[in-house]
């Protein structure tokens, strides 16, 4: 595959533009996850709207994150020409006085970065007048547009907010790599499980302590993260860059396995941690007990899915996290399924090196990935994939990671082809991590897969969604179509 953004690559994949932009990733990564932090945007209000329009609001509505106050310098054409540092200084003073945050993070945008506004000089000028700590995180939207690159750049920024540890908690374990989640749990009133409970269960299960789950909490919670003995990983894409930066800055060791889903996936994750912390006996006992609890469900699921094809549909969303979809592929493989991954844009496949390392080097997985040029991000039709593979609906389980999953009543609908929602946007289950990690998350996924195959047995009464997308929304119409034209 040619290098990204070269002539040859642009010819192969015209219209590739990444997903979101560095400003959006930076803003969301730092803002709502830390309760007492305010992001000041140095740029046009439009950039703030681009975040609030979907991401921030979605994270608040569906992932237990608080409302994000988003003061902005409201850069206009005049400021683009004349510079906006005075407005930035005024904004910082006002935010310090009115919002009174513990930490102010300045993010800049394409416009303010391109005109070289000297943000550091503004900070130096106003620092004596303000109470909050002020940090600048350069984040012009155009820089490293492919998501993997943007996220990579944030690792050192997160670590730079931390303090060197005065002492290390020898039993303390951090979990790095959460994205849009908080430490707020179901016990505290959350309506569905985040990921915290799953990691608490795994870590405390072998007699250790959860020190920090990142990114979440508040500024103090963040800055004391290096007091843990070791960093573990939830997702490679979001976790590796922080882990690497913490290792460099504080010497915190880290373990590379991500997404403990499926019996084997969890066992490997837990045993890696146990070996590092010298807890192998406790871990063996813990894993054995937990696996026994799931044994009958595992076997039942296997009866339903063994030998089937797992159609792993990626989308724009997988540009931010294809490791998650491949973790489901791993889970399916353990159950005897044959996963095929498609609609994974080659640019992201190539540029997200951390997911690549986690999946291929650490896990040793190598599922077939159907690489296409996907010009202008145009997706591949799953029915074409099935035709290419020579399989019919009864042989498949379809999983997807974002909106606009494929559906067409009469041929491809939950009523006749098993489908299971693995999108971290949409999957919300009481009592389970929404990413499906941990034993509870794995159990929920197994049950979900069985229920998907059960639902697809009915072969009639297609879903509303499938009918809306179909040219034969009523069953009498699809029956006529199957009969073919009368000769």
């Amino acid at each position: 595959m040619p290098e990204i953004d070269t002539e040859e690559f642009n010819e192969l994949c015209p219209g590739y533009e990444g997903v979101w932009c560095r400003y959006l990733w930076t803003t969301t990564y730092f803002q709502q996850f830390f309760r007492d932090v305010v992001i000041v945007t140095h740029g046009p209000l439009s950039c703030v709207a681009a975040v609030k329009n979907f991401k921030q609001t979605h994270y608040s509505l569906h992932s237990a994150l608080p409302f994000a106050h988003s003061p902005c310098t409201n850069m206009d054409e005049n400021a683009v020409i004349m510079g906006g540092t005075d407005i930035l200084a005024d904004t910082l003073r006002r935010v310090d006085k009115e919002y009174r945050p513990a930490l102010i993070i300045i993010t800049d945008t394409c416009a303010s970065y391109m005109i070289h506004d000297d943000v550091d000089a503004v900070i130096a000028e106003i620092e004596p007048d303000v109470k909050a700590k002020i940090v600048y995180t350069p984040s012009p939207g155009f820089a490293g547009v492919q998501c993997g690159k943007a996220v990579e750049a944030m690792g050192p920024l997160v670590a730079s907010l931390m303090d060197a540890p005065s002492e290390i908690d020898q039993e303390g374990v951090n979990v790095l790599g959460l994205y849009y989640d908080t430490r707020f749990t179901e016990a505290e009133g959350r309506k569905h499980g985040g990921n915290t409970e799953a990691y608490v269960h795994l870590i405390e299960g072998i007699g250790l302590k959860v020190h920090r789950i990142m990114n979440a909490g508040d500024y103090d919670y963040l800055r004391t993260a290096p007091e843990a003995r070791v960093n573990t990983i939830h997702t490679a894409m979001w976790g590796y860059p922080v882990a690497q930066a913490m290792e460099e800055q504080f010497g915190t060791p880290w373990l590379k396995r991500q997404l403990p889903m499926g019996l084997e996936g969890i066992r490997n994750w837990v045993m890696d941690l146990a070996r590092f912390m010298n807890r192998e006996e406790e871990a063996e006992r813990f894993v054995k007990v937990e696996e026994e609890k799931l044994a009958s469900l595992f076997e039942e699921t296997k009866k339903w899915v063994e030998g089937k094809v797992l159609l792993v549909e990626c989308s724009r969303n997988s540009q931010a996290k294809y490791g998650e979809m491949l973790a489901y592929a791993r889970l399916g493989q353990e159950l005897g399924m044959k996963p095929y991954v498609y609609c994974l844009h080659p640019v992201e496949f190539k540029s997200q090196k951390d997911d690549m390392i986690a999946v291929f080097e650490v896990e040793g997985l190598n599922p077939p990935v159907l690489i296409g040029p996907y010009p202008y991000h145009q997706p591949v039709n799953v029915e074409d994939v099935m035709a290419d593979l020579g399989v019919d609906g009864d042989q498949c389980l379809y999983i997807y990671d974002d909106v606009f999953p494929y559906a067409k009543s009469g041929s491809f609908d939950p009523s006749n082809v098993a489908r299971y929602t693995t999108s971290s946007q949409m999957k919300r289950v009481k009592g389970s991590s929404f990413l499906g990690v941990g034993y509870a998350g794995t159990a929920v996924t197994y049950r979900g897969m069985i229920e998907a195959f059960q639902a697809a047995r009915r072969k009639s009464k297609p879903t509303f969604f499938g009918r809306v997308w179909s040219s034969t929304p009523f069953e009498f119409q699809s029956a006529k179509q199957k009969e073919g034209p009368v000769s």
């Binding site: 953004d5 642009n10 015209p14 219209g15 533009e17 990444g18 997903v19 979101w20 932009c21 400003y23 959006l24 740029g43 046009p44 209000l45 439009s46 950039c47 703030v48 709207a49 681009a50 609030k52 329009n53 979907f54 921030q56 609001t57 979605h58 608040s60 509505l61 608080p66 409302f67 106050h69 988003s70 003061p71 902005c72 310098t73 409201n74 850069m75 206009d76 054409e77 400021a79 683009v80 005024d90 904004t91 006002r94 935010v95 009115e98 919002y99 394409c110 416009a111 391109m114 012009p140 939207g141 155009f142 820089a143 490293g144 547009v145 492919q146 010009p375 202008y376 991000h377 145009q378």
Partner: protein, 463 residues
Amino acid sequence: MMEVLSPTKDTKMRDQFQPGAFIGSIFITSGIQDTVNVYHGVSGCHAMAQHFRGDLIPNGVYVPVIGTGFLETEAIMGGAKKLDRTLRDIAEAKSLVKVAPQCIWISMSDCPAVGGEDIEGVARGVAADSGVKIVAIENAGFKGGLARGAELALCKILDEVVQPYDGKREGINLIAPFLMGSANWPFDIDHMVEILQAAGIKVNLVLSRNLTFADLQRFPAAEANLLLGYDEMPDFVGKSEKLGVSTLTDDLVLPFGIGNTEEWLLSLAERFGDVGKAQQYLSDEMGKVKRILQRNYNFSWMASFLSDKYAAVCGYAPFAAAITRYLFHDLNIRVKVVGLWSETEAGIQKAERVLEPLSDSLDFKVLENPTYLQLAEAAKEANVDFAIGSIQDKPLFKSYGIAHLNLGGFYYFNNYNFVPWPLLGVKGSLRLFSEVCKVVDDAFYETEAWKKLAFVPGDGVEG
């Protein structure tokens, strides 16, 4: 008494929801089928454009927004080559579209704009080779907000698409319906057209809703434009004037609720239609409403229950002003805090003139372009029972323990307006009332008590 506060008057700092100019343009161009948008800029902005374009879908048209693939290299070296390729792919129907469109609109983000990208030049080159009309709009986010972006697109349409016209002029053009600030605006504008026509007012053009590219030529056949936002658009007004179409400058309240609808429709009918027909229409519509609500126990209960409650309203100036008047006039609800967002001083002033008549009979505060924090603190201080805003501010008000109803903003995102029923007009007051009932229920249902005092089988039984 109306107390006006301007907490951000002496600063440029803002903390409010205002998408940039390119979004305003795309709202205009995406209502014109047989055309395609090309978006030249960074992906984060492009995603927002694609999301908002979706507002035009319900009972409307699908106009793609296609990105050129603007990456870091293009930020440094320029992206004309990618823009050129995308335009040609579309104009020649090589990919992305099955047939060449009648027109391609180019919008852009800050990055190519600051870099001085010559989108006009690229457009001219491809148009000359392909024969497809291409209109390039310099509408980066820093050029202004939605209203300014709409104005930039409208000016381009008048300059480069619409031909001069000397014929008979009749009726009105409805301009930029999304600037009303209603999350239900697609169905509201459709019903607005029905209302006007029932009052004998010809609607010449809705810019933009369900148009073809050829329909744009009808623009100068109108007698006047009715801007559905409150922000001034001097460039558009001037160009339109030159084509012989004046623009109404009246302080018209939007027709949300019965009282507002009567005032709005009769005012327009007097100038452009038939007052008799308008009155007959209003009476007929009210008759239909009465058939549902008169002697209706539920209606009587809820109308009484809503009365005297305290509310806050925030949103784009036209919508916030109209909803404030609706709540007070139609439902006898005391609106205590009104947050008005506008891109121009003129927009704020117009909304305040629309609210001014309430001043004698209601004590309330108007906050001009407040931050979210100022807004929520004011609502808390006023001890309001509920707030009407947009989905983006739901988590804010709920975090203050204030019930919230998202009627404002845009169709996107997470507004479940799937039933094609208006909020405006007499007919729309049925839905408005239903929605307000739900939020007041949310404010007063004792859900925490239900949980804490719930019967638990066996609880309290000894042994």
